[in-house]
Amino acid sequence: MKWGMVIDLEKCTGCQACTTACAMENTNLPGEAWQDVLFYHEGEYPTGQLKWLPRPCMHCEDPSCVHVCPTRATYKDPEDGLVLIDWDKCIGCKYCMLACPYGVRFFTDEPARVSPDIREAYPDEEKEWSPPYEMPEHKQSARTGVGVHRKGVVSKCTFCAHKIREAPEGVSDLDPDDPELVEYVPACVRTCAPTARYFGDLDNPESKVNQLIADKRGVRLLDHTGNRPQVYYLTGEGGAIPAFDDKQS
């Protein structure tokens, strides 16, 4: 199977609930937006434009980050298509951050983006910090980069591996409206109020995600890089992905 995400830009309201749900679920540091929403403006009053682009890790089929990792800490799992980081192997060299065309990776030891440093309020010797609301220990796993971050490593979106990997075998889509499946849905997909996000098996031609990609002509970001993301965008009637420039964020 191959997990993938579809993001409908026509529905996305730019609210950032994906960002905050992800941050609280995965105990990211403030501003460490594994799941960011990038805003752009163009033009001038009275005809100015405001646009936005939600951006998770693309979990590429051919990920640049995996190619450059000197310790094989970043790996592509052939079983379900996730791109993950083994924090036990990561040496924090940041090659992957340079190689990623989408800018979705974070070095955990960066200076605090919001001061005072929250890590000082909840210090920890082993991990980056000790948030009082961290997920239960049995959900955390250094080998998949899930849980409170380790010091001196790179972190990124895992597609909430700790949730989706517990889903019933063979399920085509993780529908957050289904009480039987809701616990396995990635945080950002689960909370998305306008239902701009869908999550399912790209290897299954019957899946809702494949249906949407087919019906609504899903596109991938920076397709020319050859990374072949497993995240597809639906741009709506006459829509387009806003000019993607990571530096603008």
Binding site: T20, M24, D124, H162, R165
Partner: protein, 826 residues
Amino acid sequence: MSIRKVSVNRRRFLQASAGTGAVGASLGGIATLTRESGAQAQDTPAETPETKIVKNVCHQCPARCGIDVYVTNGRVHSIYGDLGNPIANGKLCPKGHFGTYILYDPDRFPGPMRRTNPDKGRDQDPGFEQISWDEALDIVAERLNDLRARGESHRFAHFYGRGWGASCAGLYGAFGQLYGTPNSAIGHSSICSDGSKMAKQATDGNYSYSAYDYRNTNYILNFGAGFLEAFRPYNYLMQIWGHIRTKSPKTRVTTVDVRLTTTGAAGDRNVIVRPGSDAAFALAVAHVMLTEGLWDREFAGDFEDGRNRFAAGEEVDPETFEENWVSGLPEWWNAVVKDATPEWASEVTGVRADTITEVAREFGTTRPAMALFERGPTAHTNGTYAGMAIHALNALSGSMFAEGGLMYQMGPAYGPPPAEADDYMDEHASEMQDRHPRIDMAGTERWPLVANMMQEVALNHLADDPYKLDTVMFYLTNPVFTAPDPTPWEDMLRETFVIDTSPFPGETAVFADLILPDHTYLERLQDTPTYPFEGWPMTALRTPAVEPVHDTKVFGDILIEIGKRIDGPMGDYYREIDSTENLLRHLAEGFRDEPGDNGVNDFESWKEKGVWYRKPYLWKQRRGRFYEWDGEGYNREMTEDEVAETLFKTPSGKFEVKSQLLEQHADYIERELDVPPERAGFPQYIPPRHTGGEGDLHLVTPKTACHAEGRGANLPHAIAVMQPTVGGNERTFVEIHPDTARARGIENNGRAVMRSDVGEVECVVRYYPPARPDTLVLPMEHGHWAQGRWAKERLSGHTGYVTANVSDPLSGLACYYTGKVTIEPA
């Protein structure tokens, strides 16, 4: 990798914060996740701890989204929307996820605190020492009993902001009645959104926000409501957005605002108007609808012979028009609308006339079509009239009580409380009834139409007019920071005995003599009847997810415990009420006769499901006739009297575009707003009276999507995403047109100072070319001086310090968005 070691650290944390491990075994509303973990690391403990889900209700805006709180080993680790709650539907807005952090906020008070430093001031450390609840409550009771014995009980005042339901703010009425004060309580609604309530009261007779059938509408004409940022219920509005923007036919959305927001950008058309000019735009839409014959004749009425006589600039003979459910339409046309051409409105609003005409034709030719508004148009001196002009479009489109239109909210089927205050009156309580005006003078000749006037309290107190307060108690409101031009509150709090009930430090607490800390919401048992939503009744229940982390008490119980300590029959009344839990158990008895659609029929099932609701809404207007639900459908046609009693609660029993209520106050309106008495009743545009002195730029101070009520400025994760549209991720920025900035020598990202005749604010600007060159936008968020370690002195500064304390004379709503300022480099 020593996870074991980490767990020791966490335990130490819990001990330090006086946390208790176990979730009470008696808690209802708990579902158990029993599935096995399939992806465990090798160092995972052998036994997987049980995770429980407790039903609660979010507290970060008024919306009341039901939440599932995940608790493992007595610790909350995540929050998601409750799939069974009709507002949340399993979803949340960006704020909802911060609840875990609020629970464990390291700046919380550990328990009741008494001030030891007699000197009060911004820079004075209160020198708080922790005391027991008995000591704290006895201090309050002694003070209140003394005041009452001296015959001065009116000098005690309660103030509240976000009241939730019968078990908190609902207790105030009886407290005031029995204790003998007219000031129980002064609500914050006049520094919130009373403009929309007044506009609706004046036209359709309902002093209320509207409920909306968004799901079935095909056109939304939105004036200044942050539909995708802050309008309530925000989470549900976004769910609706996903639906209406992809259904067939796609709902068309036009946004009229003074700035470019995500709401405007996500819709079909964004119209940027001059601040305070919304009424002119709405009137021109009405003008086009009438001249082009696009109004709903079945609802509003028609000319006797069906021939449209509405022509620009020409009066009609009211005798020739047969009104149906709209009262005063030809008179309104003659007095106001006939001259409100798109060309005229273009002059007032700065919007092209053909744009206004296009919007009017779209709105007029699409059904169902609704017009909505909130503070954007109403937080001006002309705000009530602006709201009326916008709301009148709902009369012309026939959307009142129609499918895809607007209605009002029904209340929950609560049973009677354990005791009635009327049975516990003593001589003093009876003597004090109507003896003194409220401290805010609401409902007096000074403010005849308003419900609250919180922003006047400090000034009235300091002027000893009508009197001085002695003791003041605050619940979920912080006017010493949030009121317009709030500094007089510091003087008032300096000379009164101040009780704050916030679990967190804040500006009020700096002046407090006593802190009686409330639970945070994840620790509370508390009812939350819905704000106006879809009309049918609903009330959700907060259930404690964990034992209190600190020595706190839910506000309702604080009030009840104080009541028990008051001498005479008042104490008996509160002993009969006993506790908020007892009160809620009595209220839930009402569900037995009217079980909820989800099976909730008593207190225990209410806790288990987290919400009681009962569809449908009972009334519907179709093609100019009103019907009542008969159990199967909207089949029973209502009489005019029934409609007047239930739906249009105006003197005429109709939607009044010639408001009899305002005509009754024509003298007051002429005195305050220079509106000639013969025009007092009509929705109309009058020029706003901008405040601030000689300022050359408008200042607008909106709330952003991450403005978590009262705490957003101290939530590190919220700070990081506070103002994403212009990159405000560590501080907030003043959005400024580059030409405006450059003309004043202000660089992009540069420090600047905003000034008005009220004061000045240090800020940081960000160039934003879509901004009106004459308008600055700064979110009301930062600049706190006492809200916690992350909030303290964060830029940009507080907008209240340049906002004049001027209010709409009709609604009483503080004119937050009508100020003018100057800006220059710092």
